[in-house]
Assembly symmetry: none
Homo-oligomer: 408 residues x 2
């Protein structure tokens, strides 16, 4: 029994609903996608409740499930995953937050939650904040893409159960409150951090230049999504797998790092619709020899779904298909290929939805059902049936002859 | 993302098995039912194990599951649900029983378990019993339809783990025994209650009149199905839903009340095959504006199944279809409609069976599979796959854009 290599291609948010104005088709049904359809035609298809029926998956909880981890057992909030994505190794007791650089006119009223989607100078701004001491707690702060950043509190007596300071709309800053007595110190320091961030950033050179140029200054930090460190076994410890992860967005890279994958940085992989698809294809093909499992996430379909742009989503599907075709042509046939989405982002909803996602898995000697197309409806008649996200990796491992026997 | 309204139509016991004498068809396959088929044709279908594969659902446990409550976690016996249906608010510590008025010749030997299906006078008989004191326990007793009634013990030190007094066939009364030391008082009072009911009812005016008319007297009460109060979160608290329930039978109304639904009383809704289908349709249509979810139960198909009457069951299906057609024509398209059964009641079995039930769900922008008929076999090839009852409401909520995201 030969162990096979495995490739998991996650088309983020590609799963959709039919749209009346486009002949009642979904973007997957409307697109020309010979490579995706080949995966369906040569293997097994089905639908998948990534978390559970009727549950809308976040990108973070979804990816945990897709790698076999029950998010209800291991998930501790997005902050910790963003921190991992930014390359910060969380320690036990640390509390992490996702942050935005934002614009305030008086330190309380937020007039732009993204500081005009600031694109440069954030590493200098982050440096000015990082290293700050709040009582006996150390502050680690790191910029992300555009207006995004990550904040970590490191010190004794912290707890993630604090209410938000980010109003999530333009308006007044909220005062963080403790959701439990153990979290009072964290709430107090969080409020203090926001005040100090405004003090430090207001007169920072980067912001003086922005104001001179008529741009909104990034003069306050809005943390949200508090999370403590995940205590999670790596894919290597759990399944004995050497894994590589390729993704454009920080969040997904964070999951890859948390699960002990080697994260392959691909120049031109942006996490947007302008990503370099062929560069990602080459990275995946290049990684398969040295790894047991190569995971590839393409974010662009999710972006098109959030924008409610059907035509763009169809284009993205066709671009992903070209990428997949390029990978498949270079792959020797002994690789098990799984094609799926992490959640639905219907263009009619412009957000994640609970609709199950199509999944197709093929490999050299895999069973082959009658499904000939990779889309939401065709896949549902396939021999995989309706599965759960947490069962996906075990199923792929089984098809790759990598599962171990239970009993004798 | 617009929240949609939801309509859940439960055709009680409509699900069946093929019957040889009728071309190997099920009643659903034999009936003309354009409205039901339209729900299947415009949406997704599948089969559903209402409790779990191979488990025969009761009407009470089935409906708990259909509203997303795991009956293995919340169910405490039918008595408490019947009490809610009769409008008695159970308190913590109360023990409730379903009862029959029955006929005995000597206070021990039961010669008619339903007292000739007594139809009038039961409210006077109930009044004579209710208010009785047994030691320090108060007795609340209320008549139901025909020979049916509900008994509640209210007082300290009660426990539902008592054996039955009802022999379930004509014959000698059983002596209730405690199934645990804590239930000894309850068993003692139950035996005493039965003895006292005979004492009180024997010479009651209603029974003297019945005897004069040659009818069997309702001269003893047979309690069964002891249950304690359900500790259950309402649909409003759990999902934030305003719900309306329409049903002919006490048991289903009881579930509606326990889950915090507004129970809409429909004159002419009998719970039998003679129910006023159009009155129920009108009630449903009228309730949709003021509620998020309207639940409609039609009992008649279950009655025909228990009677083993194929032709009657086909007629009932066609009547339900007319009712559904009347609702659908008045419904704006933004409503998610779910059509299902709570269990199978095959005419060949004349009782509930474990066969999974067909379910179809359609809505404005729902996915559409290839299923064109609502029946046991057609539905099984649909894109919903094989689901569990407890997942039904979450799936409907997802299709109605009412699920919340888990993660970020």
């Amino acid at each position: 029994m030969k162990h096979k290599k495995m490739l998991m291609v996650v088309c983020d948010g590609v799963s959709d609903r039919p749209v009346k104005q486009f002949d009642g088709l979904t973007p997957l049904q409307a697109a020309r996608k010979p490579a995706m359809d080949a995966v369906a035609r040569n293997g097994l298809s089905g639908t998948m409740d990534v978390i559970a029926p009727g549950v809308v998956p976040g990108s973070d909880t979804a990816h945990l499930a897709l790698f076999g981890y029950d998010p209800y057992k291991v998930y501790t909030g997005r902050g910790s995953i963003e921190a991992a994505g930014a390359g910060i190794d969380l320690r036990k007791g640390d509390i992490a937050f996702r942050c935005n650089f934002a614009t305030t006119d008086d330190g309380v009223n937020i007039i732009d939650r993204r500081a005009g989607r600031i694109r440069s100078g954030t590493s200098e701004l982050a440096e000015a904040i990082s290293g700050m001491k709040l009582e006996d707690v150390e502050v680690i702060f790191k910029e992300g893409s555009e207006h995004r950043a990550v904040l970590v509190f490191r010190g004794p007596g912290l707890d993630h159960r604090v209410s938000e300071v980010d109003p999530h709309i333009e308006g007044e800053l909220l005062h963080s409150k403790a959701g439990s007595p153990e979290a009072e110190k964290t709430a107090r320091l969080l409020n203090e951090f926001v005040r100090r961030s405004h003090e430090i950033l207001s007169n920072h050179e980067v912001n003086l230049e922005r104001q001179n140029a008529g741009l909104p200054p990034a003069n306050i930090v809005l943390p949200r999504g508090a999370g403590s460190a995940l205590a999670i076994e790596s894919l290597s410890d759990r399944f004995g797998l050497r894994c590589a992860g390729i993704a454009g967005v920080t969040l997904v890279k964070g999951i890859c790092r948390l699960l002990g994958m080697e994260v392959i940085e691909v120049p031109g992989a942006t996490g947007g619709v302008d990503t370099d698809y062929l560069a990602k294809a080459n990275a995946a093909t290049g990684a398969i020899d040295e790894h047991d499992l190569v995971f590839l996430n393409v974010k662009a379909a999710d972006v098109a779904g959030h924008d409610g742009d059907f035509r763009l989503k169809v284009q993205v599907v066709e671009s992903i298909d070209m990428m997949l075709g390029s990978i498949l042509k270079d792959l020797h046939e002994e690789v098990v290929v799984a094609l799926l989405a992490d959640h639905s982002t219907p263009v009619s909803v412009k957000d994640h939805s609970a609709d199950p996602v199509p999944v197709s898995i093929s490999g050299a000697d895999s069973r082959v059902d009658a499904v000939r197309k990779y889309d939401e409806i065709s896949a549902a008649s396939g021999a995989l049936g309706r599965i759960r996200g947490v069962d996906l990796l075990p199923i792929i491992l089984g098809m790759a002859n990598r599962s171990s026997e239970y009993g004798a």
